[in-house]
Symmetry: C2
Subunit: 358 residues, 2 copies
DNA sequence: AACGTCTATGAAAAAGTTTTCTGCAAAACC
DNA sequence: GGTTTTGCAGAAAACTTTTTCATAGACGTT
């Protein structure tokens, strides 16, 4: 049931907010020239006051600072970056921002880069490599300081542009065989390999696999490979009919469950490449009257908020999004300064979190 | 239980990725000058080829396009925007990116603005108005085309800078009494007013309120007001001991539930200002052995993924994040062109979604 | 007193585009 | 057939800052 409301049309108890009080003395354009005039110096000294205040006489600095405050001066970063031949901008391209998969990562990158004086720009490729290419080229036009990309399945042109840019490039959420630059990630292969092994260790057999079905998704491919190898090592054949893909939604997870169970009623566990699918499957089991984990075990990947909320709670693989974000930001920072000395690939690992569903 | 794994140290089955193949003929700096030389024109014509191709002779255009392709030219947006005296950048400041509260909104704004040729920049204020002010001033330096802000509780300085910038300013997720510019939002007051009324209609009395406890959160304040008015209209007194705040986490939701129930065991329903809290409360009820909604009813706000996954499923208020995002982006687009003709405040409304918890 | 060094400031060039203005040839007009 | 318009392209200025180079004076040393 769902009641619709447009809210009251009369502005009932409108949201309060402080009235604006004019603080600044000047309207119209205010650049370094205007500040300089007011402070009786040249714009050169104004520039210095901002970037190397210790090179400016205290009294002069005071006058300049006062002028800036009074006139509400905001330095033009466009001009500054153009002149300095580099900008603090750091593009970060992720497949999606809507799902909470990457949201911890995004927030941490954002906060950490901002604190370090950079300006992150987030782009959303929608799991589409061509779109990612378009975004990258667009971002390259801003003369960024570094580039952060998700995954390893960039188009050749994307790779070329990265290489030719001469910028620090960081790939994340993966462990590529041929990295573009530095890497902060984990092994998608190993993740599914380990969780499948774990399922086997807990006594489950005939393990299926549910994955995110987007074109050119190297992370899904790696996860599938991990599942296949583990299944084979367990003495079974990783039947492709026991694996099924779907888009990123709860419904797709339910579909996958029904599909695999329909083709192979003897399936005792399904390892999903995403918590979203896994949760969808758990809910579908309830609808179908299947007991978890007795009739079938379910595992996910990501340890998103959902997984500890669903009942039964989800056994999953925790990906340390915040750590990845912080690590990426630090790496950008040090790479730009040129003092990065750590390994070119940082494996942040993952953690199997056993709950009730397996 | 939780097993820790760093993944295999040997790069087991490293993630595959295409090898880079050199596509471009030239390394080193390639600007319009270089393209111009190669195409036997001046950089002026190159500039025209990019922005007004119909003003360039077909044959000339062909030569220029070919040169760009061969040399992998990326126009310098810094220079372009500086010269054109405005940039396609549009800052969007939200309180948090980590929670999925705003993630639909963010993705939709990102996609829609990108398609319209803008470059959104997302900043995260962490529910801190001073930090928001800092971010805004930093972003203003990029000479943006417009500004999108969440909420109505900006500092006076923030408001001044917005006003003085002369830019289109859009506030969202609220319906401010004194808007800075245009608004795309809904009434936070009405949201809690309506859901509380609904609870009363469903027969619940002694209704409590749980809210997000961050300093200067106008949205929480408005929601609380809505609860108070509705409770009073229902003939009860909105006791401040029946309201409790907490940070944005499941645990805080559980705390709030215990707190309110501890002080007022006769409480028959709690309306939460956030799904996160509400879900935390639902889980806590299960731990405490309380039946929902028989012993106590719970409602949330936001209709995040969590709310339809928890058991019992959550009655909540759906906020149309994607719609808000699209509307904001369209408004930016039209405002910048100067052809926006719609109302200066768009109320997207909300929708009460009744599920099992009330 | 001559010299070198250091500090505080300024003048001019540079960054890579777009804007504005100008020029020229060919087409269109009457 | 001369004039106006149109289509295409170039030259120079502008955008606002940083970089680079220069200079004037203070101070210390020999």
């Amino acid at each position: 049931m769902s009641l619709r409301s447009q809210g009251s049309k009369r502005r009932a108890a409108p949201e309060s907010s402080a009235q604006t009080s004019p603080t600044f003395q000047q309207d119209g354009k205010v650049g370094m020239k205007e500040i300089a005039e007011r402070a009786k110096v040249t714009k050169m000294t104004v520039s210095r006051a901002l970037r190397t205040p210790d090179k400016v006489a205290p009294e002069t600095l005071r006058r300049i600072t006062a002028a800036m405050e009074e006139m509400g001066f905001v330095p033009n970063s466009l001009a500054g970056s153009l002149s300095a031949r580099n900008s603090p901008i750091v593009p970060v391209i992720v497949p999606t921002m809507a799902n909470s998969i990457f949201s911890d990562f995004i927030e941490e990158v954002s906060l950490t880069l901002d604190r370090a004086g950079f300006t992150p720009i987030f782009g959303c490729s929608n799991f589409d490599n061509e779109y990612e290419e378009r975004l990258l080229i667009k971002y390259l036009g801003w003369q960024p300081s570094a580039i952060i990309l998700t995954g390893a399945s960039q188009t050749p042109r994307t790779r070329d542009f990265c290489q030719r840019s001469g910028l620090p490039v960081i790939q994340t959420w993966c462990l590529p065989e041929h990295p573009l630059g530095r890497v902060v990630g984990f092994s998608n292969y190993d993740m599914l390999y380990q969780i499948t092994k774990a399922l086997q260790g807990w006594g489950y057999r005939n393990i299926g696999f549910g994955f995110l079905n987007t074109p050119n998704n190297d992370r899904s491919r790696q996860r599938r490979l991990g599942w296949e190898v583990a299944v084979r090592e367990g003495g079974d054949e990783p039947l492709h009919t026991r694996a099924q893909g779907g888009e990123l939604s709860l419904e797709a997870g339910a579909d996958i469950l029904r599909g695999i169970l329909g083709r192979h009623p003897d399936t005792k566990a399904i390892a999903f490449g995403s918590d979203v699918h896994a949760v969808g499957a758990v809910l579908e089991c309830k609808r179908l009257g299947l007991r978890i984990p007795d009739d079938i075990a379910i595992t996910g990947c990501g340890d998103m908020g959902l997984s500890s909320v669903v009942s039964p709670t989800l056994t999953t693989v925790r990906i340390p999004g915040r750590t990845i974000g912080r690590e990426c930001a630090t790496m950008v920072n040090l790479s730009v300064v040129g003092t990065y000395a750590g390994p070119s690939t940082v494996n942040v690992g993952f953690e199997i979190v056993r709950r009730e569903s397996a």
